[in-house]
């Protein structure tokens, strides 16, 4: 055993020198994640700012003017003037000059004074359904508040909803995306890089040489993977620091839990990379398989950008086998909710199970090659 460990240590040192010698790769590996985080952290946002609102009062009166002022002063809306006549709104939507329209039926002031319901239409350009629905929500919030402030009639009942937004009071989408981005960056560094470097060695035949050397297959794998694990670790730290410095993403939970989760996820990624390298025949296929097999699911089926709950049932089931999904739950819960082991042990258990399965598979695949 001691002999094996000495051999392994020498081997790991050699592998390290190998990676360190390739300056370009190293710069890419260490610099890219922070650059990516910064770029995507800014670019990936779904907040709806600055809604272009076309406000149309079919018969202007004091009340419609008051309501218009409410929208204009809200700060979230830019008022857009609409040409008169039918078709003007469709035209404004088609040329992308307006996002949402509020159309007030005639007689607003009179109806409100007599205690009758007054008609208001809210029309959104829903070609982007998410933004459309969010804009509707903002318009509706203004209408609801305005209605609550109307002088109550005798007998009117006013129930005031007091709304609290927990875990992300400013509703900034950056707080949702940055913990997800950490998963994506880890996936790139671990799964993708390992798959590529191992399959390159396979293509060149250097791996065969190692496999017939006195080193055990597991030692070969550990030796190959250890440097990347360390790199991944450095990446996690740098990305977390950037998330905190650049975006001010809150850190409500324990850093230890987060690092443990990150390390576990990096191990899953590394073993996945080894498996991909083992089952593909050429570098190019390995690369494409890694891109399609790890990157796509990690961005699309992980809940990083799109909520898993919004997906159709079969995809929700499929999302369960995507490791990134579980890690994102860990990183979001720790960072935003301040969750700890008590809430997150299932996610840790699932990731551990995945790691055990993948590493067994990887070692067996590589051992088979010796026969």
């Amino acid at each position: 055993m001691r002999q094996a460990l000495i051999a392994l240590r020498a081997f790991i040192v050699k592998e390290f020198q190998h990676i360190l010698r390739d300056r370009q790769t190293l710069i890419i590996l260490l610099g890219l994640p922070v650059a990516q985080l910064t770029l995507f952290g800014y670019a990936l946002r779904t907040d709806v700012r600055d809604i272009r609102l076309a406000y149309v009062a079919e018969a202007p009166d004091a009340a419609t003017a008051a309501l218009r002022t409410r929208f204009a002063r809200n700060g979230r809306f830019t008022m857009v003037d609409l040409a008169p006549g039918p078709g003007a709104l469709a035209e404004a939507f088609q040329a992308d000059r307006a996002d949402v329209a509020v159309i007030v039926a005639p007689g607003l002031a009179d109806r409100l004074r007599d205690g009758r319901a007054a008609e208001v239409q809210v029309i959104a350009d829903a070609s982007d359904p998410n933004t459309g629905a969010t804009m509707q929500a903002h318009v509706l919030a203004v209408l609801t508040a305005w209605q609550r402030d109307l002088p109550p009639r005798v007998g009117g009942v006013n129930i005031e909803p007091r709304v609290r937004m927990l875990f992300n009071p400013t509703l900034e989408s950056v707080n949702l995306f940055v913990p997800g981005l950490i998963a994506l960056i880890l996936t790139i560094v671990t799964a993708l890089m390992t798959a590529i470097s191992l399959s390159r060695e396979k293509e060149r035949g250097t791996l065969e040489v190692l496999l017939v050397s006195p080193l055990h297959p597991w030692q070969v794998i550990v030796g190959k993977v250890a440097p990347y694990l360390l790199l991944a670790f450095v990446n996690v730290v740098s990305v977390l620091v950037a998330a905190w410095l650049v975006f001010g993403v809150p850190f409500r939970g324990s850093l230890v839990t987060l690092m443990a989760g990150s390390t576990l996820y990096a191990l899953v990624g590394l073993s996945l990379g080894v498996v991909i390298a083992a089952i593909t025949s050429s570098q190019l296929t390995a690369m494409l398989a890694a891109l399609i097999g790890t990157m796509m699911p990690s961005t699309l089926l992980s809940g990083m950008i799109f909520p898993i709950e919004s997906m159709p049932a079969p995809l929700q089931v499929l999302a369960n086998i995507v490791p990134a999904r579980w890690f994102i739950e860990i990183s979001r819960s720790v960072m935003l909710k301040g969750a700890g082991w008590a809430e997150l042990w299932p996610q840790f258990a699932i990731l551990s199970g995945m790691f055990a399965l993948l590493i067994t598979l990887a070692i067996r695949r590589f051992s088979v090659r010796l026969d």
Partner: protein, 381 residues
Amino acid sequence: MRALRVLLRKEFLQIRRDPTILRLLFVMPFVQLVLLANAASFEVKESRLWVVDQDRTTLSAGLVERLRGTGRFIVVGSSVRQEDGNAALMTGHANAIVAIPAGFAREIQQTRRGTVQLAFNAEDGAQAGVASSYATEIVSRYGAELGAQLLPQALGGADRDRPVRGVPRLDVHRRYWFNPALEYRWYMVPGILVQLVTIGGTFMSALNIVREKEAGTLDQLNVTPINRTTFIAAKLIPFWLIGIVQLTVGLLVAVAVFRIPIEGSLALVYGAAALYLVAALAVGLWVSSVAETQQQAVFVAFSLLMVYILMSGLFTPIRSMPDWAQDLAFLNPLMHFIALMRGVMLKGANAVDVLPRLAALAVGAGVLMAAAVWRYRKGAA
């Protein structure tokens, strides 16, 4: 010209012989469309509501009933203690809490005023915002309804949707144009089509040229009398055609499988695609001139495409980005093409509406191609 024809034949033969490429070209559009169109959705689902009812009267039960009745909220649990609600929010079992304080009904009957607490898990701010707008609207309606019920002259139990006399309120009708059912797929599919064409054009062309570089066949061609522009044209034309074919396959799938309405003119779609593909291929050519190995090419192309795609408005709206990112995105041909496709396919925008986009595509294609060819020739010299 003859040289170009001969070279083109060679290229087509090579592509035909490579089953992976063909598979990637025709199977991928299908798989990607189906997978992406279904996965990429921000659709706001009903919220999982936890009820903390400390009043336990007909009035408080009525409010919970109203929230449930809209189909926007599913009650997943209830408790008397607020802490249980908070715990449910923490574990993710629930994502909204309604808390009705003790004395809610009494207060309403005596003072005609009341308060309820609403709390949302706002990790996903957009979803929480929409849920909260529904909830607050339901709460105010309920107030209006109660006002009518408690009025002496009220005509019995007024139902929610009947205008209630005696209480000033707005009757709001929501309309969603161009996508009344809020089908997220309608919005995503035109964008995904663009992304497919991009991956085909940029990725495949870059890899193809680099592979020749690695194999050394490129050097052989460089010492033949074929002029370089002819050579580049022969390399890119097949991929341009493949891109057009991919788009066609994708459009067929969009209409047949997803039933996407195509409101505008197909000629406009293809015209824009023809321009855009030139830009995509230029990027591929540029990648191939900076990369020495296939691995580098994949890496560079992939990093570029990632930035390209994430900053194109495909997944998240451009207008949510900070100003500097919007300016950057403006230089991205992919952004213009996606916006154009969505405008034409969903809203029926015409050539005049999308003229700025077309102009941007034409300029982008010209500049990028010129730069890529210049860089390529410099590298080969």
